[in-house]
Amino acid sequence: MSDVPPLPPDAEQSESSGPRIGADEWVARSGERSAHAGLVGRVSASYERVPKAAVFAFFVVLAAMVPLLSAQTANDQYFLRVGTVALLFALLALGLNVAVGFAGLLDLGYIAYYGVGAYGFAMLSSDKFGIHWQAWLVIPLVVVVSALLGFLLALPSRRLVGDYLAIVTLFFGQIFYIVVTQGYRVSLLGLNNDLGLDRANWDLTGGPNGIANVDRFNFFGLTASSERAYFYVTLVAVVVVFAALSLANRSRTGRAWRALHDDALAAQAMSMPVNWLKLLAIGLGAAVAALAGTINAALLQGAFPDDYNTQVLIIIYAMVILGGAGNLVGAVVGALVVEVLMLEGLRPQTPLSDWTSSGRWVVYGGILLVLVATIRPWRRLGAILAGVVAFGVAVHLIVAATTAHGADGLLNTGPVSYGDGGWLGWLIRHWLALPADTYATGTRAPFNAALVLLIVLVLVLTLLHGWARDLLMIPTIWLAGFVWETRLVLEASGPTRLLLLGAILIVVMTARPQGLLGKPRVEVV
């Protein structure tokens, strides 16, 4: 499903300007064409013949074997946790996909439902209020409450254009955060004493400290207490939600959502209950988010406000958009890629980022992947890469010859030593001119300037075409490496990760709105 056949010559010309005329007919025949198109076509044709359920089962079994694999490593607990969090994000991405992908509604309060799930579970089974209900009772209760909350919130904006929904829900997400952080001193207009309550101020949410000592999941006397148990609990939740949503997507309601997505007015004219469909999409998403929230609270044994703020919302959006909105497989793949590579791979000093050498290979690999995907033919790509290396080495030699300490910092590559790598190791150490200990001396201004220059160069690149772009690409790629090594890598666990996630939203929307796995929309004119 991921293979997009090459465009016919006429479509390729008209692609850049306006809608593609005749593209719908061409798409209709794409199936028969791809069946005959070379090795890739034959492989994908035989893949198409495998039943979808079998493919699904294969990947579920594959995922279920991950704990067996991680048990072989020295960091079993860490990898299990990364796997669980990745699956949790996959669950969240699936839920967000209902509103954003299926129905085309920009639900920015999604993070609040996740928080409602976590706080609901934390309040009903922890020492906070001394209530210790079992998980089989709390989870359905919290999920239903969250779905109702989603209904309620979408109600005032249901008759209006989608942008009002965006602003109301975004605001609601903020309000949730405020209420949770302020909820440790609730006083009903100072009348608690009059109402016969024992305290002047109620502590409902624990405020900025959150709620600690939350119970583990407890089903009929069985308690899920190990990392491994939570991995499987989350996996089961993902599988169930995935199956339910793919059935929903194929149902009458799913088709109605797609109609709503494409043209709400036309859908209404076809006598579809547009308002109800919107509420249903938001409510279903809210239910999935609340389910994820209960798992998160039980996994962390606590509910903390900073797990439910706008940054996490943007992370989930980046996952859905990267994978392709409206595509369930895309949402799961996007979540796994973003969590494993960008969130864990860039976090310093974890077993995973030791492998990626503090995220270095993620970044360079990403740049290389984008270049491979966008630059044709191959010899142009080769010329550009050779140019980058030549440019880098030349700059290194010039800087080393003219200044005293300008090129003292060689690539510090973590556990891997490139001290003796022959000519390849020499190139890796010398393609950038890095001043030694940039941060220790407190010099930030030149590297900040380099970062701004990099952004300007990238923006200028989007305006250029032909050889001028290829030429400018050489210093840009070099500068990207320079800025990464001197400035961004030092804050990789904080703003840099989030900056890259935000950039994903812009770049995917501009370059490939259907995401990595989605199919391009066909505009019928």
Binding site: G18, G104, P156, R159, F171, N448, L451, P495, L505, M509
Partner: protein, 329 residues
């Protein structure tokens, strides 16, 4: 219990100072000051929405960048305690630079994030997601470039602190800084109103916001109008950023998102797409917020704004000045 007795008991909830007239008037002045700031930012949201039907999330970040530019100009000129030039010139330079910088940023955002999507006739949700990405990127970029602790304007130090001494006009006590913010806000709004009402470009803007396709058929360069709209809106936001810094002493990377959200609410409450609506909506939100701070709790000020938004969406969805738009097919 008898309702009247209940009401008297409720009054007991307030502190004594909260029940004086002067406190009420102080809140009024604070509200109008806040309102003129929100109004300036809301104008940018409203203008862009009127023409492109696009909720420009990044507008709050443009405001934030304006505030930072003002801070760096001030620091470059010696800081508030020891300015190298007369204070009036320092402040004028801060405003000029921040407005130019913010204007440039706004135009760049339009050029690189929104125009490519417009060319492709992307679905409606695409520019919204892109706008969200731009907003988040600028916010994180500001954290990287300027650091996460807020930058201190130290405007208390201006002229020995005389900017914050209250003066009395009739029954009102008002700080000179508040007066300055209100007057500057009103002047900028008046300039914008004249520009939109009287000039050729202003007429083109009104025509484009009325019907973008018809306007382009009448020979209006729609792209140029959109650039001008982003430029003006962002310049106003930049000026508001400096005003915010002078007023509240500091500027931080996350302030843009919060203030932008409130200002957008102001635009919705006033009637999105309407310029007097944005100003009046800003005033309404500013007053609501300042009374919420004064009489309820500063922690719940945003909750108050949210309640106002929900009430308006339920009772008068088109806002104070908005005309309910008929759906066209």
């Amino acid at each position: 219990m008898v309702p009247a007795v209940r009401a008297v008991e409720l009054l007991g909830y307030f502190q004594d100072y909260q029940l004086t007239w002067s406190f009420l008037l102080d809140q009024l002045v604070t509200g109008v000051t806040l309102g003129s700031l929100y109004g300036l930012i809301a104008l940018g949201y409203s203008m862009v929405y009127g023409i492109l039907k696009l909720l420009n999330f990044a507008h709050g970040e443009v405001f934030m960048v304006g505030g930072y530019i003002g801070y760096y100009v001030l620091t470059w000129l010696g800081g508030a305690t020891d300015p190298k030039l007369p204070i009036g010139i320092v402040i004028a330079l801060m405003f000029a630079t921040a407005m130019l910088g913010a204007g440039g940023l706004g135009v760049a955002i339009e050029r690189f994030a929104y125009r490519p999507l417009r060319r492709k006739r992307a679905p409606r949700i695409a520019p919204l997601i892109s706008a969200l990405g731009v907003s988040f990127c600028l916010q994180q970029l500001a954290v990287i470039l300027f650091g996460s602790p807020p930058k201190q304007y130290d405007s208390f130090a201006f002229d020995g602190g005389s900017f914050f001494e209250p003066i009395t006009i009739g029954p009102f006590r008002i700080q000179r800084m508040q007066l300055f913010v209100i007057v500057l806000g009103v002047v900028l709004m008046a300039l914008l109103t004249v520009f939109v009402a009287r000039t050729q470009t202003g007429r083109a803007m009104r025509a484009t916001s009325f019907d973008i396709e018809a306007a382009s058929m009448m020979g209006i360069d729609v792209d140029r109008v959109i650039v001008v709209t982003f430029l003006i809106g962002s310049m106003l936001a930049g000026a508001a950023g400096v005003m915010w810094g002078l007023m509240f002493q500091n500027i931080s990377a996350t302030v843009g998102f919060q203030v932008g959200l409130i200002a957008f609410t102001a635009a919705v409450v006033g009637g999105i797409g309407s310029l007097p609506g944005a100003m009046l909506g800003g005033l309404a939100i500013g007053l609501g917020q300042s009374f919420a701070i004064g009489y309820v709790s500063s922690a719940y000020q945003n909750v108050t704004v949210f309640v106002i938004l929900i009430l308006f969406l339920l009772l008068r969805p088109s806002g104070i000045f908005g005309v309910p738009a008929p759906q066209k097919v």
